[in-house]
Symmetry: C3
Subunit: 322 residues, 3 copies
C-alpha cells in the first residue's frame, strides 16, 4: 500500500503521481479549479488553513518553487515558515531529529525539496499521524505538483485526455518533472504519451513507463496536441552526454518551424525557467501557442488544492474571508 | 507621458518624484497622515491590502529598506514575499523572465531595488496592467519614498514649504536620495533648495535641477530651516574624490557649532544609516534638533500611502481590523 | 533593581531567570498552560498580539530557536520580522543605531540572540518605554525561555518542585541553559539541584549557585527524579578540556543502564539538538523516559506566555480567532 494514501484511498501525503487512480487525480484538478476563481478575484485568501503551520523544508535551494508553495499556503491563511538546510553540514540520523523537532513545534505540513530521490517518502514514513508531507522535488524521482499543474493547464485548454497526443521533449533521464508528468498523464488516461530525446538522455527503465520513444523531433511532434519542452538541467548532466547547447537546439530545440508538424492548435509548455535558444526559441516561448506563464499561475491553485486535500479539508466549505 | 501615471494623472507606479505635480505630492503626504494615527495606536493594522501580494524584489541587499517596505505591507494586511536576487548570476532577458514568472504568481506589487538607474522604470514598462512597481532605489537615479518621507517630516515640523530654505549637504553626485528630494521639494514649492558640496561631489546636470549651489558649509547653512546631511556613500565613490573622512568632516560635517548660522529652529535630517563623526557629529545626531528617527517612523506611513495609492485604494474607507 | 521588572514587579523584559520570585516564575508557567490548550486544537491562533510587531534580531544564527520564537509570535497573531546581523561587519555604537532604527519602525518587541553575555540586557537598557526585549541566548550567560520550558515540562510530569531531585549532567561551565535552569529551579523551590560534571567543565562560581556538585555520574543520578543532559558545545570548548567524545560518553553519557540508579519514574530531558552517542544514548533519547520532544512543544506555549506578559497583555481575555 502506498504511504501517500490512507486506508480509504484518500490523499494523506503527496509524494508522487505514480499509481494514483484517475478519480484521485481528477479530484486534485477539480479542487484546484475551485480555487482558481479565488485567485482571479481581488481578495484571494480563503481561511481554510487558518491556524495551521506549513514548514517549507528546502535541502536544495529553489526560490521559484519555494515561492509558489509559500504563496499557496498564505492564500489558504496558513502560517508559513521557511527553513533552508545545508545538507553538507547535516547528515544521516540528525535529519530525522530535525524533522521530529520541527514536528514537535506542531507543524501541520512539511513541503520538502531534497537532492536525493526518496527523501520525501522517507520523511512521510516518519512523521506523526496528522502531519502531511508534500514533495517539492526529490532528486531525479518526482515533482508531483509540477506534473499536476501541467495536467491542469492541459485540461483547461484541451479538455478530455483520452484523445490527446502529448510529446515531452528533452532530457528525460535527469528529469523528475518528466517522470511525474508521464505517471500523471497515464493515470488521467492520455491517448498517447511520447518522449523525444537522444538515447543518451533516456532513462534505463523507459520501456516500462508506458510511452512511445522518438529520437527524431519531427516525427515525435507529428500531430501532437501538447508539446512540452524540458529544461536542460546542465548541472545534472554527468559527463559529456551532449555535444553542446547549439547542437542540442539544432536537434531538439523547439521553434515555430519545428511545430509545423504538430497539430495546428497544439499548445507549448515548459516547467521553467526557460533557457531561451537552447530548449526553446524565444518567439515560440513568447508566442500565442505558449501557455508557459499560465502554468505558473495554475501552480498556485494546484498547490492550494493539494495542501487542502492532504489535511482532509473541504474547499467547498471555505468561505471567503473579508 | 510618464509611465508612472495613468491617463487620469493618478499614480500607477512610484518610480521618481521628478515631474509630479503639487496636488499629487500633497495627496501622498495627506494619505500618509491618515495612516499615522494607525501607527500610533496599539492595533496598527488596516485591512486595505488584504489578499494582495507584495513582492520585495531586491537586486541590491538592504535589510533596512526592505524591512520598512515589509512592515508597511504587513500593516496593510498584504502577504509579503521577499526575493533576493544575485545579479552576478542572473542577467539580461532572464530578468524579464523572472519578472513575468513572479507576476504570473498573481503578484499585485513589486518593490524593486537595483544598482542600475532606470531598473524600476524598466520593470514598470513590462508589468501587466493592474500590477504596480515601487522604486526602492535604483542606482544614482531615484529613491522616491525616501524623499517623500523626508517631505512628510518637514511638513510635520515646518508646515508650508513656500517659506522654507532647505540645505542638502554632502555627496550630491552619487545620491539618489538627494535627486529625489530636490524634485519632491521643488514640486511642493519649496522657497529655496540649496546643495552644499565640493565641486567634485556635484552632478554634471546640477544647473538644471533648480537649486542654489554652495561650496562653503557656513554660507550654505545661513538661515536654513531644514538641514539634510547625506550619507557618505563610500562604496559608490569612484577613485579619489575626497581627501579622507576627517578632512570631509572638517569641511562638510554637521555639528552644533556649524548649525549656529542656520535658523534657530532649524531641524536636522539624515536618510540613515549615519556615519557618526563623518557627515554628522554624534551630539547633533542625538540632540533636540535631530528628527532622524522620526524620519524612520514616518517612512512606514509614507510607504503605506504609496502602496495604497498605486493600487487605487482609498484609505478613507479602510476600517480598522479587529 | 532589575532592569527586567517594572516598579510593580511585573515582567517588562525577559533577560534572565536569576532573581525572579516564585510567584512570577509560576505566573509564567500558568500563562503558558493557558496557551497549551490553544496549541492542541486545530485552530491555534489567538489575536492577543494582533497589530504588534516582533523583530527577531539574531547576531548568532540559530534556525531552531528563531523558528520557535517566530511560531510563538505568529500564533499570537503578531507580525514577525527576521533580521540576521553579521557581527563581523557591525560593531560598537552602530549596533545601538541599528536598534534605534528598528525601534523607530514601531517594533513592539525584540527577540535577541548574541554571542556576548549581557547583550540582551544592554539592549533592554536602551529601548524606549513600551518596547520589550526577550533574551534568546546571550553568550554563556542565560537562555531563560529554555529554562522556563524545562520547568514547564517538569511541572507537567512531576508537579510540585519541592520534593524533586534534579540532576543536570554535562558541560555546566559553557552552558547558558544550565545557568538559567539552576536559577529557575531554585526560584521555584526545587528540593535539590545537582550538577554532574568533571571539574574542568564546572564554572568558577559554582559554589554560589546553590547546587550539589558530583563528579561521578552514578552518584549524581542516585534517586534523581529529573535527569537533564546538556548538549556538548564543541564549538564553545576552548582547548583540550576533554579527552574525546567516546571518553566523555563513557563517563558522563546517559543510557538506560546508567539511569538504573535514578528514581524508577525519572524523566530524561535535553535542550536539543542531541548528539546521539555522545551525551545521550539513542535508545534512551527515543525511549519512554524521554520527554525531549515534549520540551520542544512546550517551548511554543512558554514563549507565547512570555511575549504576552512583557507587553502586559492578559491571555485570559484572549478570545480565539476563527
Amino acid at each position: 500500500m502506498s504511504v501517500q494514501l490512507d486506508e480509504n484511498g484518500q490523499l494523506r501525503h503527496f509524494l508522487t503521481t505514480e499509481g494514483l487512480d484517475p478519480a484521485l487525480l481528477t479530484r486534485i484538478l477539480d479542487t484546484a479549479e475551485s480555487f482558481s476563481g479565488v485567485i482571479g478575484k481581488s481578495v484571494k485568501k480563503v481561511p481554510l488553513l487558518r491556524g495551521r503551520t506549513v514548514i517549507n523544508l528546502f535541502f536544495e535551494s529553489s526560490t521559484r518553487t519555494r515561492t509558489t508553495f509559500e504563496l499557496a499556503a498564505k492564500r489558504l491563511s496558513a502560517d508559513v515558515l521557511n527553513v533552508s538546510v545545508d545538507t553538507t553540514t547535516t547528515k544521516g540520523e540528525s535529519l530525522l531529529d530535525m524533522l521530529r523537532n520541527l514536528q514537535a513545534m506542531q507543524a501541520d505540513m512539511f513541503v520538502i525539496r531534497h537532492s536525493q530521490s526518496g527523501a520525501a517518502e522517507y520523511f512521510a514514513r516518519h512523521v506523526d499521524p496528522g502531519v502531511a508531507v508534500l514533495n517539492a522535488g526529490d532528486g531525479w524521482h518526482a515533482h508531483p505538483t509540477q506534473a499536476m499543474l501541467d495536467a491542469y493547464t492541459i485540461r483547461q485548454h484541451k479538455g478530455d485526455f483520452e484523445q490527446l497526443r502529448i510529446a515531452i521533449v528533452g532530457d528525460i533521464a535527469h528529469s523528475r518533472v518528466a517522470r511525474s508528468q508521464i505517471h500523471a498523464f497515464n493515470g488521467l488516461g492520455a491517448g498517447e504519451i511520447r518522449v523525444v530525446a537522444p538515447n543518451t538522455l533516456l532513462p534505463g527503465d523507459i520501456d516500462s513507463l508506458g510511452v512511445q520513444v522518438y529520437n527524431d523531433l519531427g516525427a515525435g511532434l507529428r500531430d501532437a496536441d501538447v508539446v512540452i519542452a524540458l529544461r536542460l538541467q546542465r548541472e545534472r548532466m554527468q559527463g559529456a552526454l551532449l555535444p553542446g547547447e547549439a547542437e542540442y537546439f539544432r536537434h531538439y530545440g523547439l521553434s515555430e518551424a519545428r511545430l509545423r508538424s504538430a497539430h495546428p492548435q497544439a499548445i507549448v509548455m515548459h516547467p521553467g525557467p526557460i533557457n531561451r535558444g537552447v530548449e526553446i526559441d524565444s518567439s515560440l516561448a513568447d508566442g500565442p501557442r505558449s501557455v508557459i506563464l499560465e502554468q505558473v499561475t495554475n501552480g498556485i491553485a494546484v498547490r492550494m488544492a493539494v495542501m487542502s486535500l492532504v489535511l482532509g479539508l473541504q474547499p467547498e466549505t471555505a468561505r471567503e474571508s473579508t
